[in-house]
């Protein structure tokens, strides 16, 4: 077959072209991805290790870490339950309007985070009907932790469910149907058949959702009210430090999330080798 091709090199580019293209791609990635990562660590340690340690153990930093952990945990749990229910309903049954729901699931990805946060202010802020009602009972949602959780949940809603739906669709319904005819009930089918089949996809979705929830900035910025030590998540805390020209502290706190991003990429790669 290939004997007919006179010149084998026609199936690839000349060596010099290949090397130039590789060099161009790597140079581009170094400028756009490598240098920004390096500069974070350089700026963070600019004023020495002690300064770095003081910045990341400062009381306001710690309280921003606490709020971020709570927010991320709650949104992950909510979106996990939702993703399992939605993926089950969408892949195991046929109903009208399925495509409409599938389009809805992608919506938070294309809406500006600022608008995502704004809708919760419009719905629950002190000038809205619902907000005034909540005010009478002294329930604070906007400019408080519940608002931050709601906005984060909205923004991160697609990440788990988008991993599960294609995976469960591909696996079909036969295994579950077989279990059903053998007398298994719904929960048994789910825990014994479906869950083991989707565990890697689920992990993948959780990791993406986690990274996005921790780093969410725009939506959270709208609903938080920036109350120091109370409603600041880690990214908002970094913004405040930066705007106060406290650059080394801002970058010091940023190293925490940068390390987390690198760990996320590592786990992501590991899992995709495992199940692809």
């Amino acid at each position: 077959m290939s004997g007919k091709i006179k010149n084998k090199s026609i199936l690839s580019e000349p060596l010099i072209v290949r090397l130039t293209l590789i060099a161009a791609a790597i140079l581009f990635l170094i400028i756009f991805l490598g240098l920004p990562i390096a500069v974070i660590f350089k700026e963070a340690f600019e004023l020495g290790l002690n300064n770095y340690l003081t910045s990341i153990t400062d009381a306001e930093t710690v309280s921003s870490i606490e709020l971020t952990v709570i927010t991320t945990f709650v949104s992950l749990i909510l979106n996990l339950i939702f993703a399992l229910a939605a993926a089950w309903a969408i892949t195991k049954f046929d109903f009208r309007g399925k495509n409409f729901i599938l389009t809805l699931l992608d919506l938070p990805l294309t809406i500006s985070p600022v608008i995502s946060g704004m809708v919760f202010v419009l719905l629950l802020g002190s000038h809205s009907l619902l907000g005034q009602y909540l005010n009478q009972y002294d329930i604070k949602i906007i400019f408080a932790a519940p608002g931050i959780i709601l906005a984060t949940t909205f923004v991160t809603l697609p990440y788990i469910v988008r991993e599960l739906i294609p995976l469960m669709k591909e696996q079909g319904r036969q295994e579950e149907e077989a279990a059903l005819s053998l007398g298994a009930n719904g929960w048994q089918i789910f825990f014994k058949i479906t869950l083991p089949n989707i565990k890697w996809g689920l992990m993948y979705g959780l990791i993406l959702c986690n990274a996005r929830a921790i780093g969410e900035f725009g939506a959270v910025s709208v609903v938080s009210g920036h109350i120091r030590g109370l409603t600041n998540t880690i990214p908002l805390h970094i913004e405040i430090l930066y705007n106060e020209y406290n650059f080394s502290a801002a970058f010091a706190v940023a190293t925490l999330l940068t390390l987390l991003a690198i760990i996320t990429l590592f786990l992501k790669t590991l899992i995709s080798w495992k199940f692809k």
Partner: protein, 281 residues
């Protein structure tokens, strides 16, 4: 097992799995509470102003400048992403070089790194005293606090969308087609432009549209690098934010409606493109 097989033959596809009511009901309730009811407030709030007022808000000079900047900068960034995204995907799929796996997983960095951190670090690199900004300012190019800075941040944000949409299509591309073309005496340039490029074009367009859509709404990385000067370097999301801070909810929602409609149209276009690309396989 025998009984199962027989019953499957007698009643094909008659088995209905349990849990439809519970899971479907929960899905609809959750979507309504977290997504639909909050989103509907935009339309309810805009319904409160008449069309003339709405028109005045969205055609105000400051708003128009912001739209122009947002659409223009996002478009340029998406085009840069399409060129370099294609290059990166090509190099990762077609060539071997040391450290390829690390480079491959690095591409997702803009997904994983919080946007605010991307903003402050890109500003540090491209500011006039930064590692790269220093040399560019010597030749008279200012990046931080200009439109160029906005384009750079948006390029960063959008890159993985192009690479990750083009890469799988390139991987699937059948090398035998190339060999066949080569036996027919096609040269390398013809093979690339006439055979490989048309195959990946739909994916490239989809990836670029995704990068553009993502860039339009971007906020976190921009506020640090752009300087946010009204009429000059103020993008739409920043303008919406400043209206909200002044409690001008009508202004903010009117501007958002235009952005939202654009997002819907883009989402629709992406779906059409995906349908088109699967049809033309």
């Amino acid at each position: 097992m025998e009984a199962v097989n027989i019953s499957n033959k007698v009643f094909p596809r008659k088995k209905i799995l349990p849990g439809f009511g519970l899971t479907f009901g929960f899905m609809i309730l959750y979507l309504s509470l977290i997504m639909l009811i909050p989103l509907s407030t935009i339309f309810i709030n805009t319904a409160g102003i008449d069309f003339k007022e709405f028109w005045n808000i969205v055609t105000d000079e400051r708003v128009m400048q912001a739209y122009k900047l947002s659409f223009g900068a996002s478009f340029i960034a998406a085009v840069i992403d399409s060129v370099f995204g294609f290059l990166v995907a090509w190099v990762l799929v077609r060539y071997d070089f040391p450290g390829k796996r690390i480079v491959d997983s690095m591409v997702d960095l803009p997904f994983a790194l919080p946007t605010a951190i991307a903003g402050i670090s890109l500003t540090a690199v491209f500011a006039s005293n930064g590692w790269i900004g220093r040399y560019l300012s010597d030749i008279g190019i200012k990046i931080a606090f200009t439109e160029v800075g906005i384009i750079i941040a948006l390029t960063f944000i959008g890159l993985p969308f192009v690479v990750r949409t083009v890469q799988p299509v390139l991987e699937e591309f059948d090398k035998e087609v190339e060999e066949a073309a080569a036996t027919l005496n096609a040269n390398r340039f013809q093979i690339i432009t006439k055979i490989i490029f048309p195959t990946i074009r739909p994916a490239l367009i989809t990836g670029t549209t995704l990068a553009f859509a993502r860039a339009l709404g971007e906020y976190g990385s921009i506020i640090f690098i752009s300087g946010n000067l009204p009429l000059k370097t103020e993008i739409v999301p920043v303008l919406i934010m400043s209206k909200l801070e002044q409690y001008d909810y009508q202004g903010a929602t009117a501007i958002s409606i235009v952005m939202l409609l654009t997002s819907f149209i883009l989402l629709f276009t992406i779906n059409i493109l995906q349908w088109w690309s699967t049809k033309h396989k």
